[in-house]
Amino acid sequence: MPAFNSVQDVIQKFDTQSYICGADIATPIYLMEQLEKPLLVEGPPGVGKTEIAKSLSGALDRRLIRLQCYEGLDESKALYEWEYTKQLLYTQMLKDRIGDLLGNASTLDESVEALNRVDSAFFSQHFLLPRPLLEAILSPEPVVLLIDEVDRSDDEFESFLLEILSDFQVSIPELGTLSAVQRPLVVLTSNANRNLSEALRRRCLYLYIDYPSLEQEIQIVLRRTPDINEDLAQQIVRFVQKIRTLNVRKPPSISETIDWALALVVLNAQNLSRDVLGTTLNVLMKDKEDIERIMREGVR
């Protein structure tokens, strides 16, 4: 049973998660479900790339499994690990039973055979410590898998992802190949720190999110800060969008706009006076020089 009936359905369901999006964002999301392909999301920081995965999991009521990428991330942290300690503990506890097991064996060969019959017990899924990727694959109910900031991982890890992303299966030497019980919905995000390989891009659908339009951002602010009056919201968004057109070091993101709006509501500000700016601008702008410049020059 498909999760979404149409692109409109995506927009509506995301709306219930307070994620405002147009057809430009909803179409790839709808398609990723239909085509069973991962979705690669790129865009400037803070435009809601990660939020897509969260809203997706919320809208479909599916568990979100998140894998944060970083330099040096490898299989044992992303896929699985054997739980040595547990294996050892079991060995200790089962020591006494070994006598019983081997009691009937008269020759060495027989005891080896007897042991052979049970040794798979120690390399069973019981002792497998699933990391996010394996967890997503083994989960009996469908999940949303978020591979966040994939551009931070090494090239090798990226290549390793290819198998999982195209076939949704992994090979574990002791157990064989495990295939996905339910195909997870996979969202990858990237901040373009590094150019991702062509091979990875080919396997994904691609979505580039830019900063939203004025109307859209006002909508978003209104939705996320319920107590705000529309007038102030408009002022805020206009101000923020103006700043983005200036050549600042770190342009404010959507999440920062929302934070700022929340702060202004808490402080009960009615409009953007100079005093208000002076005290709250650090919520929006995270660079000292940027703040000084805005205060000095204004945004006109």
């Binding site: 149409s6 692109v7 057809a23 430009d24 179409t27 790839p28 709808y30 398609l31 239909q34 085509l35 392909k37 979705l39 690669l40 790129e42 040595y84 300690t85 050892l88 200790q92 090494d154 090239d155 090798e156 373009a192 720190n193 590094r194 150019n195 062509e198 891009r201 080919r202 994904c204 659908l205 691609y206 979505l207 580039y208």
Partner: protein, 417 residues
């Protein structure tokens, strides 16, 4: 529908977007699930499947607008083919289905005109071969063409780069005119080639990182780990071989004669930037200027063009190595350290100014390595005002660097230093 799609993919490839066969098949699959009567959704659906890089989106937009100009008829046409029953849910498509046979042929004509006029694709005909064969053929032809184009570009630039060496009396403007004959398309191609090269170099380097994970056994940490497992060393920890990340400092002469090579070298440095703990770039003609922060994610060409207009760089002046080096020596010497790799790119033509080679000597004492790249052919070194021999002794490597192959060696050398 498939035919139209294949044609569209061709148009896209023609405008420089890379589309693989698998992707065009995905596109066909995607269209089965999208209501093609809604232009916006139809467009984003195609875009998300066919375009995988942000930079390609404008090209896609343009191609889409051109190709699907005749909206209504296109939709009719798209309804043809085996997929039509999938789309029955959307009510608007129903009437079209009845007309499909009437319209089918007409659209074929529209399509061809469209393609010929707008995309001007030679030798494109809807043959009787099946779609898939068609696609495969086209793809291979395309690749060969691309390769040929690359090779030609390579040859031309190496010729172009040789030129300035032959003219011993150079003045800035003449050279620039000469270089501007390089059509923009080729410059783009070269940038792409440099990008690819950098990616290769970096991959090779990350192999070193992987090897580094399998160093000698680290007894101390193995024992520590074994406490968890009852003193049985289940998990053997190996020492990571330490790989030094060097700091890279680049001094680039950008006077007219060297400019062409310099921009590709800067591009290479930018692409490899994350392989160094820090990479700083300085440009000079007769004064030196740090440009590290200028590369802030804007299109590379735009930044490069901006340097040309920057008065503090005096782009059209005479290069004065001595003065630039002295300035670097007095302002930035303290920032050099044992981990610094200093790369200087210049033709060492000091225009009869004092070369002040002692400044380079001072710099060499402080850094790990000095590499000099000279874009002039070797036989012209030390003729006329070239003072390569004066600077040479203070460099660990002096290399000729005037084509992409040599640039590649330079890249390797810098990464392995």
């Amino acid at each position: 529908m498939i035919e139209r799609l294949v044609e569209f993919v061709h148009t896209l490839r023609h405008s420089g977007v890379r589309v693989s066969m698998a992707e065009s098949m995905d596109a066909a699959e995607a269209l089965r699930h999208t209501p093609i009567t809604e232009r916006q959704i139809f467009k984003t659906a195609l875009q998300s499947v066919l375009v995988k890089e942000h930079q390609d989106i404008p090209a896609f937009d343009a191609a889409f607008e051109r190709f699907f100009l005749v909206q209504l008829t296109d939709q009719d046409d798209l309804m043809n083919g085996p997929e039509s029953d999938e789309n029955k849910e959307s009510p608007e498509t129903q009437p079209n289905l009845c007309n499909e046979q009437d319209d089918g042929e007409q659209e074929g004509e529209v399509t061809q005109e469209d393609v010929e006029q707008e995309a001007s694709m030679p030798g494109e005909e809807e043959g009787d071969s099946s779609d898939e064969d068609d696609m495969e053929d086209e793809e291979s032809v395309y690749d060969v063409e691309e390769m040929l184009a690359r090779i030609q570009v390579g040859e031309q630039t190496s010729e172009a780069m040789t030129e300035p060496g032959k003219q011993t009396h150079r003045n800035g403007t003449e050279d620039i005119d000469l270089y501007q004959e390089l059509p923009p398309g080729q410059v783009e191609n070269l940038y792409d080639a440099v990008e690819e090269m950098a990616a290769n170099l970096v991959t090779r380097r990350s192999l070193r990182y992987r090897k580094a994970r399998y160093g000698q056994v680290d007894i101390k940490r193995t024992l520590q780990r074994s406490f968890r497992t009852g003193n049985i060393p289940f998990h053997i920890v190996r020492k990571r071989r330490k790989i030094n990340k060097h700091e890279l400092v680049v001094l680039c002469d950008i006077s007219g004669s060297v400019w062409e090579v310099a921009r590709f070298f800067i591009k290479l440095v930018q692409e490899m930037q994350n392989q160094f703990s820090r990479a700083r770039s300085f440009l000079f003609v007769d004064r030196i200027n740090e440009v590290t922060d200028a590369f802030d994610g804007r299109p590379f060409d735009e930044i490069i063009e901006q340097f040309k207009d920057d008065h503090s760089l005096n782009f059209f002046g005479l290069s004065d190595f001595g003065r630039a080096f002295y300035q670097f020596y007095s302002e930035h010497l303290m920032s050099l350290s044992r981990t610094t790799v200093l790369v200087i790119l210049g033709d060492a033509r000091a225009n009869w100014f004092d070369p002040q080679e002692w400044t380079l000597d001072e710099m060499k004492r402080r850094v790990h390595q000095v590499i000099w790249l000279n874009p002039e052919p070797r036989q012209y070194w030390d003729t006329d005002d070239s003072v390569m021999a004066k600077y040479g002794p203070y460099c660990d490597h002096v290399l000729e660097c005037r084509n992409l192959e040599q640039l590649m060696h330079v890249g390797e050398l810098i990464l392995e230093s």
